[in-house]
């Protein structure tokens, strides 16, 4: 894990840029103004991770709905955007302009819409990050994962990147948002980025060698 001031700043910038871009796109998509609450982004040890998306202490064991967007190439990583099941159902209502509380089960069409939304948010983050650190990030296909406990999914994601937890760095935030269509309701999502630490360190070192303009 890296505790680097530069990395914290880069993550903050990427989060801000990604949330402004992607939620502006979402506002157009649903025809309602979406307001995103900017939560302080953090660099964390993987062992300390636990999502706060409206879940209690059992969060690590609780099933969630997740959009996963892997990146491969010069930097290998994965972005996970997670919603509680109830907020995923609410989101389906929002995306398809249904009355709040209509969606009880997620259809294939709903899944595809959620996946597309996740793709926009996660893709915007990668794009902002790539611009900031001046590297090309190659995104793979976004995947949607249903009803898998966070802990299990995290394990699987880390295994795909590195042999053990000490070799990855986690960057997290929350993208919480509201719309007039769901008056009084705050949609909560947990956003987690995991990178191979060694690759991230190399990129940060390269950045330090280039004088700021």
């Amino acid at each position: 894990m890296i505790q680097n001031k530069n990395l914290q700043e880069i993550h903050e910038e990427a989060c801000l840029s990604a949330c402004l871009k992607s939620f502006a796109a979402m506002s157009k998509l649903i025809g309602q103004q979406t307001i995103v609450d900017i939560v302080n982004p953090r660099v964390k040890n993987v062992k300390e991770l636990a999502p706060t998306v409206g879940l209690d202490k059992t969060a690590m064991k609780t099933a969630m709905i997740v959009v996963s967007l892997p990146a491969r190439g010069r930097i290998e990583g994965n972005v996970l955007l997670m919603f509680s099941r109830q907020d995923a159902l609410n989101l389906c209502d929002l995306l398809f302009k249904r009355e709040p509380g209509t969606t009880k089960e997620v259809t294939e069409l709903d899944k595809s819409a959620l996946q597309e939304l996740g793709n926009i948010i996660c893709g915007s983050y990668f794009s902002s990050l790539a611009n900031r650190v001046k590297i090309k990030i190659v995104e793979h296909m976004a995947q949607i994962i249903f009803d898998e406990p966070f802990e299990k999914m995290l394990e699987r994601t880390i295994e795909g990147l590195a042999p053990n937890r000490d070799e990855v760095t986690a960057l997290e935030t929350e993208f919480n948002f509201s719309t007039p269509g769901f008056r009084g309701h705050l949609f909560k999502s947990y956003f987690l980025v995991i990178f191979q630490t060694a690759q991230l360190e190399m990129i940060l070192d390269t950045l330090q060698e280039v004088p700021a303009i």
């Binding site: 402004l20 939620f23 506002s27 995103v36 609450d37 900017i38 939560v39 919480n176």
Partner: protein, 105 residues
Amino acid sequence: MSKEYILKLYITDDTASSQAAIKSLNGIIEKEIRDLYTLEIVDVLERPEMAEQDRILATPTLIKVSPAPAKRIIGDLSDWGKIRSGLELNNEPKQLVDSDKNIIS
């Protein structure tokens, strides 16, 4: 005595970012423009139409309504430099004059 600064702070519910923004902003303005401001705090969950009218995209957003020009600061409000610059407090404190042309600071 008329207030010089009219500020509007948009927040979402009582989230951590909202609480941090209120605390931080209060600290700054109480120190810098004490008694010379009006601060309205708007929760977008309670008043979405007002947020829509002001075209709020993200919270926390601080709007300096007056003195003109209006300015917005989006996101982290813990940075004193950013707030001072947004509120244009960079210069020496100016002398404020009330409607009877009395210097009040």
